[in-house]
Amino acid sequence: MRLALYVTCLVDLMRPAIGFASLRLLEEAGCEVVVPPGQTCCGQPAWSAGNRPLARDLAKKAIAELEGYDYVVIPSGSCSDQIRNVYPQLLADDPAWAARAQAVAACSYELSCFLKDVLQAEVVPGEFAGSVTYHDSCKGLRGLGIKAQPRALLGKVRGLMLAEMPDCEECCGFGGAFAVRFGDVSTAIVDRKCEAIAAVGADAVVGGDLGCLLNIEGRLRRRGDNRTQVLHLAEVLAGLAPQ
């Protein structure tokens, strides 16, 4: 099985460890993993800003790079939603691209979906001595139905205890450009998330989207919480979480 790892622009720049954790998980599961060298960004920022022509150009670029693999795996629900759900509608009226967009969309999976639903992984390499609480990111949850997969996988991590926080499906207030454009509103929203995290008192909050994680970690630290770790699911599953 030959698959493409789409690292995402945020992981590339802000937290390469998530890319390497994903690589480890996939390789240990016996996959041949290629990192397509030209990848930059899926174009979601252009799409959500309303710039359709630019979103379309970047979609075509990504599709050309991601074609021809058995699967494309993405350690982000948000970018997966863009590739799986947005690309086909973005290029539906382009005869040269519509079928290509659908083909790539159909074989693209968010990391936890791929591990659980496609590979049906029974073991993961990670170990974690402590309790974690899982934040459901919006695009993954409501766009792709990711809910059971990360929890099932976390359940296989030795030593890990899963503790659900209240309102784990509530948005963290990130929303890409939203958090920059309406910083104070975003802060008010992420404050409620921080309170939910404090209420459950877990050692780490874990999620599948780096954008949400940077937002949550950023606010936790500013509020003075230096104890709660903020980790990507891939890091915990691969046993590459700094402890």
Binding site: F182, I189, E217
Partner: protein, 480 residues
């Protein structure tokens, strides 16, 4: 004059900041949110007792509303004919101006000096109370929440809980002043007593008003009736005690049959307040009959366009399905950080972020379609399956197509897009950026001030990256 003139939606960003910092408001919202969300969840879960599933039911409700929106003109003609046959008068209003003219005209013809009102968002669209007062007719809001905000001289901040932004202390101060008594200390245990106090005052108005003004939750085409879904009983008083009853509602509120109405009622109260059925459901048809002792002598329907007809057949026709339950705002993280007034016009929350630009001009509400994290909590609870985030997204696209976004924003996006299309150059710059961000960090590995995104770093410490990008490290690993 278009409603846009009265909209404050262009000031969303500034108003949002003020509301986030408003402690009293935040306290009121913090209290309300779990109630709204919890009650709806319970209400929806209760569907199972009747052997119904939410997804299936909302598809049915969506289909009923689609059928209406697809042939709106036909259903309106049927409604008009049946309503006239039952003795009501049917008037049409293109905009707020025409609503005001019709109502004042009816009031003058019938010698009205006081009008009691039950909730009508269309009356807000038309700013009817102002116009009535100016014409020497006293409007009295009789929905408890509306009564409170009328005393405060404010607009509703929520479509079904208009005074949700008020704390009990604020309400007590308003009541003490209006009812001419000293103010006391109040807790939520006093709410029934406060409601009784308001009721005693309002009762006098119900008995003395010559006109009642209401909205309608639905207009039923087959019977020519208005359906009213309420909890306080004031709606019954308003629509039956005064000599004249005026119903003001949007042309999209039609449902074909009573059966359809019954189906929609499975989801409307559950979505709004979690109730399986509201305390009162009224079907108002025609005027008082020859051998009847109750009901108005005159009933007038004012059916309002105010931007609605233009949505039929457009990219936004989905929005015409809306049954105004308020679930979208009740589940919106942005709404619950700000309350409704920040949105600047009649409808707040996700519903308002779509309706305000469409009804008052896209160029007059540039922030609203962007005032969403894209979380789709609204779309997932909508009882008629309106894809609210997709509609906000379409409005963003129109802003972009028309060049309505700020120049710096368009430039930044274009520059970033140009770069993202050139992997070689992109790698070079991201490598630099990774080092720069590392350099910005303090000893604990956090970036406290980020010049590029000050709005973000005002409230957060950005965890700094390690200084090398993934692709850089991966290339090195491959070489090794």
């Amino acid at each position: 004059m278009k409603a846009a003139v009265h909209s404050q939606a262009m000031h969303f960003q500034a108003r949002a900041g003020v509301q986030v910092a408003n402690k009293g408001l935040q306290k009121a919202l913090e209290k309300a949110k779990p109630l709204f969300v919890g009650k709806r969840a319970k209400g929806i879960a209760g569907l199972a007792e009747d052997g119904l599933g939410f997804e299936e039911l909302r598809s049915t409700c969506e289909a009923i509303r689609r059928r209406v929106v697809d042939d709106l003109d036909v259903w309106l003609e049927i409604f008009e004919e049946r309503a006239r046959a039952s003795g009501a008068e049917v008037l049409w209003a293109r905009d707020g101006d025409e609503i005001r003219r019709h109502v004042i005209d009816i009031a003058r013809r019938h010698g009205v000096t006081k009008a009691v009102k039950s909730k009508s968002m269309l009356s807000e669209e038309a700013r009817l109370n102002e116009a009535l007062s100016a014409a020497g007719i006293r409007p009295v809001e009789t929905d408890l929440g509306e009564y409170i905000i009328q005393l405060a001289g404010e607009a509703p901040s929520h479509i079904i809980a208009p005074a949700v932004h008020k704390t009990i202390g604020e309400v007590e101060a308003l009541f003490a002043k209006e009812h001419g008594r000293p103010a006391g200390t109040r807790t939520s245990a006093d709410i029934p007593a406060m409601a009784r106090e308001a009721r005693a005052v309002l009762r006098q108005h119900f008995l003395s008003a010559e006109m009642g003004i209401s909205g309608a939750n639905f207009l039923i085409a087959e019977s020519g009736s208005a359906a009213l879904v309420t909890n306080e009983g004031n709606g019954r008083m308003v629509t039956t005690l005064p000599r004249v009853h005026v119903v003001i509602t949007g042309i999209e509120k039609i449902v074909p049959t009573l059966e359809d109405f019954a189906t929609l009622m499975r989801l409307l109260p559950r979505s709004a307040t979690g109730q399986s059925i509201s305390n009162y459901v009224s079907l108002l048809t025609g005027t008082r009959g020859a051998n009847e002792t109750e009901g108005p002598e005159k009933t007038v329907f004012i059916l309002v366009d105010n931007g609605r007809a233009a949505l039929a057949g457009s990219d936004f026709s989905d929005m015409l399905r809306c049954i105004r339950c308020g679930a979208c705002m009740n589940h919106c993280p942005v709404y619950f950080s700000l309350g409704g007034h920040a949105y600047g016009w009649v409808y707040p929350g996700p519903m308002g972020s779509v309706l305000t630009p469409l009804y008052t001009g896209i160029e007059n509400a540039l922030d609203l379609p962007h005032a969403s994290t894209g979380c789709n909590q609204c779309g997932s609870v909508c009882p008629v399956n309106i894809p609210l985030p997709a509609l906000m997204h379409r409005l963003r696209e129109i802003q972009d197509e028309r060049g309505l976004r700020p120049r710096h924003e368009r430039f930044a996006l274009r520059a970033w897009g140009w770069l993202a299309a050139r992997p070689g150059l992109y790698r070079l710059l991201t490598r630099r950026a990774a080092r720069y961000l590392r350099w910005l960090a303090d000893d604990s590995g956090r970036i406290r001030v980020l010049g590029l995104a000050p709005g973000w770093s005002d409230g957060r410490d950005l965890p700094a990256p390690p200084g090398q990008t993934f692709h850089e490290l991966y290339a090195a690993r491959k070489r090794a």
